[in-house]
Symmetry: C2
Subunit: 332 residues, 2 copies
Amino acid sequence: MVKQTYSKVSTNNHIAEFVSRVRAGDVRALSRAISTVEDHTPESTDLLKALFPYSGNALLLGMTGSPGAGKSTLVDQVARVYRKQGKTIGIVAVDPTSPFSGGAILGDRIRMQSHHADSGIYIRSMATRGSLGGLASTTADVATVLDASGRDIVMIETVGVGQDEIDIVRLADVTIVVLVPGMGDDVQTIKAGIMEIADIFVINKADRDGAERVEREIRAMQTLAVRHDDWTPPIVKTVATDGSGMEELAQAIEKYRSYLEQSDRARQRRIENWRVRIAEMLRDALFQRVLSYYLSEGEATRYAAEVADHKRDPYSLVERIVEGLGRPDERN
Amino acid sequence: MVKQTYSKVSTNNHIAEFVSRVRAGDVRALSRAISTVEDHTPESTDLLKALFPYSGNALLLGMTGSPGAGKSTLVDQVARVYRKQGKTIGIVAVDPTSPFSGGAILGDRIRMQSHHADSGIYIRSMATRGSLGGLASTTADVATVLDASGRDIVMIETVGVGQDEIDIVRLADVTIVVLVPGMGDDVQTIKAGIMEIADIFVINKADRDGAERVEREIRAMQTLAVRHDDWTPPIVKTVATDGSGMEELAQAIEKYRSYLEQSDRARQRRIENWRVRIAEMLRDALFQRVLSYYLSEGEATRYAAEVADHKRDPYSLVERIVEGLGRPDERN
């Protein structure tokens, strides 16, 4: 008992020191904090609880779009614009795509290392291999760490092809969807639902043939899509590789940010985002609880064998386990 | 009390009749059963419980791959091969991609309607828009309905770009990953983890330049990947549009099926699949329970506002709610 209390105090001291290093801009502490959160180590929840009060000041920019749309280069260029304004930046690059496209992505990442001498830009690639669900939650937690560390801008970059990616960028204050002309319909393939969440559209590689066609398609879609506010997402044309259109993009972001700040919209959006995120955190926590208390390794295998052998139906099984929980006490 | 008992009996009769129609091959009943499961209507669990005992006989084929790899055409051709053998087929096409690629996909789907006169092929496109998680579970349930309806082969087709899609095809007996040459690295973009779950690789559009390069890349990857068995996934080259390579693909499927049937491997794989699926079903059921009992609409919004205003940290909140669930009783 005494041991436990002591160890709790010791943990708290350790966390407090960890937090103050992260807050002081110690990049190694920041990297370690992100790894802690990403790996869900035992101290990650305590760390997040301690960092959370310092978060909420950064502008969260989410950027998503087709594979090959040049998102990394675009993120790089946007970061340059903000650096010129003296702002500090944290970038989380989430790329769940395969080794087949690893070449190009690695190339981009290496190129971005050119910023490495500048401690005002911190870049983190998220390892998503083997992550069983919870990717959106983990990314949001990493963004919280960067936000709490005092970065002015936190950019989240992801390939817009799965539900995970929608969940990730939905948590941003400003969501930018990047499209690209002239690669055929197949390449434009992005998740249904991505188009609806765009606050700003970017047509990158806009010097290529077909940029007008993409613009027309976005306009056509906008006449159909229903937004819950009166913002019409602007379409910005860029050529990220030479920096064209970057000022226009920065202005579009600023314009949307001003719009959000009118009549409490920014707060309403964060409330809505947190509503979704709290539900997801609960689901993830429940899954962990299922594995700990409701379905031991041995039971899981036994049940699975019974179901596979058709000796038991899984629907009744799940009902029975959940009913075994009983009703919650009144207080909750 | 009497009313409730009566209504239960009435429900059971209704379900029993529903099941017998589905089992008798009534296509309208089958469509209605799938809609019931897909929409999670109140009777869906009773229906699945009643259908489950009849499932487990179909061969579940999962097919996934890059957008634009020609999966639909391939599924179509594989279906033709099986129809020639007198087998009945159910196809579930899960496509979470955007309206931007809708043209091509719709075209495929319309083309496949050519089978519609043949009641031996049943095709169902899954509506995934707005589905909050649970897509893999729902797809698996739809596959169970098709399986229980007496179809010999159940094919599940999905774009291999998100975690959802991995979860979906992982539930198949045989997983086929489709790649395509000559479209550049960008298009080859598929979710990390997809490559590892392939039992058979298909290089479709193999008459294009670059088929050898794709083959070399797969071979290179195979020297690195670790499988839990001694099966080396074969690489089959096809041109789905003219039917080339379809016999080879059917043979590869048959060969893997025979391999699975040796030394209990098919059963072991189904047990492993059910282990994952039962855990996911439990998670979804607990999540529903949380939304019903622990987090009313009003509470969720209030908590979200407190978190957005930084009056409360979400990590402690989630801990408190999950602890409120209590431990399950001993019997479980």
